[in-house]
Symmetry: C2
Subunit: 118 residues, 2 copies
């Protein structure tokens, strides 16, 4: 089984949407089909937990999940809480305008809430 | 275990990108966390097969996978073959311009190739 790592890297430092990125702890992966069977089983459960966690701590009406990687080749999965009328609604968050920087306290509180849930 | 259905519905009728949409055969699902554990196991393997199949029959440099559902509530997963310089590259395909209709022969050939691979 592959331990997955949840973190909030550059592209998720966007206060417009609560946003997690899951990154498998194995270099050289770029597609879901580069993962082994057991790794995919872990991945989908990690996505599930991230989805439930975001839903629990936000007023999201929809969770968006995406593995694109057109710009960053290392395989990663976005899990994003969407709200009616958010900056990109109902379009995708990727490629939509400029990120808004989190206020430090707001980000710390969100990360703490997520850590408690996950 | 949940049988998954692969089809090319409305939003994937876009000749700009080879594009599959996986729709679980169960009504009332909208989030990945609405699926049961065993259903998620099937889903990720169906995504894997769709990804491998698209990679095999296209010159895709990247497969994009997305479960958005902001407009269509029934849970569904997009699996899209991306090429350098395609109409939306390197952005997401969703919300990008107008779909281009397939010529009937081209679509039939693509569907046949996919059926053979999947």
């Amino acid at each position: 089984m592959m331990p997955m790592r949840k973190r909030i890297p550059l592209s998720a430092r966007d206060a417009r949407y609560p946003w997690l990125i899951l990154v498998p702890r194995r270099a050289g992966l770029s597609e879901i089909h580069d993962l082994k069977h057991a790794e995919r089983m872990v991945l989908v459960e990690e996505i599930n937990r991230a989805s439930l966690g975001l839903k629990a701590i936000t007023s999201a009406v929809k969770i968006n999940v995406g593995a694109l990687g057109n710009l960053v080749p290392q395989f990663h999965v976005h899990v994003v809480a969407r709200k009616l009328g958010d900056a990109a609604w109902p379009g995708p968050v990727w490629g939509n305008g400029l990120a808004v920087t989190y206020e430090r306290d707001v980000k710390a509180a969100l990360v703490k809430q997520l850590h408690d849930k996950l």
